[in-house]
């Protein structure tokens, strides 16, 4: 797997996106899957940047690899911030009218809906979140 370690701050988002896009383009990832993976990576990275070490700053490691049978992209995020399982959060009610809607919680929900698998473990003082998307 390719690996990128950097500070979890939203200013570093473009660097994370180029790292991921480069790996996906090298794997001839279809455009639609790439956009969905981009969206998922952005949501997770921004989440880690906003909450993992707040109010301080700390590192996050992003890993990406391509596996076969079935062909899929695997993206892993590791941080040593406060333990947080994004999968434990209840889904927002997407049937509400605009007036009743909350803007929070939508990002993770979008990730759950567009990725084929999402798993979380807390190990060695690290949050480890793994996304899988079939190509």
């Amino acid at each position: 797997m390719k690996e990128l370690k950097l500070d979890a701050v939203t200013d570093n988002l473009p660097q994370v996106m180029s790292f991921v896009d480069e790996a996906l383009e090298a794997a001839d990832c279809p455009m639609k899957a790439q956009m969905q993976i981009d969206m998922a990576v952005e949501e997770i990275f921004v989440n880690v940047s906003s909450y993992a070490y707040a109010p301080g700053v700390g590192p996050v490691t992003v890993k990406i690899g391509i596996a076969d049978d079935p062909r899929r992209a695997i993206i892993v995020f590791e941080d040593q911030g406060v333990p947080y399982d994004p999968l434990a959060k209840a889904d927002p009610d997407v049937t509400l009218s605009a007036e009743e809607r909350q803007v929070g919680g939508l990002g993770i929900f979008m990730v759950k809906k567009t990725m084929d698998d999402m798993s979380y473990v807390y190990e060695n003082n690290s949050n480890i979140l793994t996304l899988t998307k079939r190509l």
Binding site: V103, L106, M110
Partner: protein
């Protein structure tokens, strides 16, 4: 991201090109805030919008709420990728998409 603008009296069309993400959404938000006072009808043209994240959706929801007290917000020319994000998040039912 690039924003094209065309004003016709109190009707404003903004054409959003490129990526509406965490880093570019504040730019659209700032543009909208400048225009709300002088705008009764807002049209967002997404024919060249390649990508949207939840940061972009937040700006859209806020625009929808602001404009619903006036002549409304219409969204035009939504492509497949952005359209799927709208449908997964229920935004397809909230927004006036043409």
């Amino acid at each position: 991201m690039n924003i094209g603008r065309e004003r016709n009296g109190n009707e404003l069309t903004l054409t959003v090109e490129g990526r509406l993400d965490t880093n570019t959404a504040p730019q659209l938000q700032a543009e909208l805030e400048k225009e709300y006072n002088s705008t009764e009808k807002l049209i967002l043209d997404f024919k060249d919008l390649a990508y949207i994240s939840s940061a972009g959706l937040r700006v859209l929801l806020l625009a929808h709420k602001t404009m619903s007290q006036k002549g409304g917000l219409k969204v035009r020319n939504v492509g497949d990728i952005v359209g799927e994000v709208f449908s997964v998040t229920g935004f397809a039912d909230v927004l006036d998409i043409q």
